[in-house]
């Protein structure tokens, strides 16, 4: 971790905002398996629940090469281009 000093007048909290939530889940939901053992079972069950509860939602599965590092850029870009939502798991 690196610390930097705030160059502003500090009126606005230095924070990134999360993207807007639309009030519904539609389109393509990505399920990203971070490759920790047993996470796949949980994600498969989520797939089933999504299909059952949110018909019309398309589900795509992705797998990260290793849970120990952030997702490689190529995979990140692929997911960004293909998905409207992302669920990532399972960190343990």
């Amino acid at each position: 971790m690196t610390i930097i000093l705030d160059p502003t007048d500090e009126r606005v909290p230095v924070a990134r905002q999360i993207s807007e939530r639309s009030g519904s889940v539609q389109g393509v939901v990505g399920l990203l398996n971070i490759s920790k053992p047993r996470g796949n079972i949980l994600l498969d069950e989520l797939d089933r629940l999504l299909t059952e509860n949110a018909p019309g939602v398309e589900i795509r599965h992705y797998t990260k090469p290793t849970f120990a590092k952030p997702c490689p850029d190529t995979l990140r870009h692929q997911i960004r281009d293909e998905c409207d939502f992302l669920v990532e798991g399972l960190a343990d």
Binding site: S19, E20, S22, L42, E45, C71, D84
Partner: protein, 73 residues
Amino acid sequence: MHDTVWFEIQGIPSVSIASSVFGQAAETQRKALGMEGARYVLVPHPIQDATDDEMRAKAREAFDQIIGALRDA
């Protein structure tokens, strides 16, 4: 949380699922990444020795929270 934060910046609502022992880590990390609003959902520990049925139960219990994290402001 790194990935979650990255996808949020790209405009894709995201949620990270972690076992309950990771609550503190997730909290620290999203703060360190400058996105205190990044979403995560915790499922009960343990994971590695849980049976398949127990894993599915964890998924069912967390499902509403996961959808909520993607759907609700």
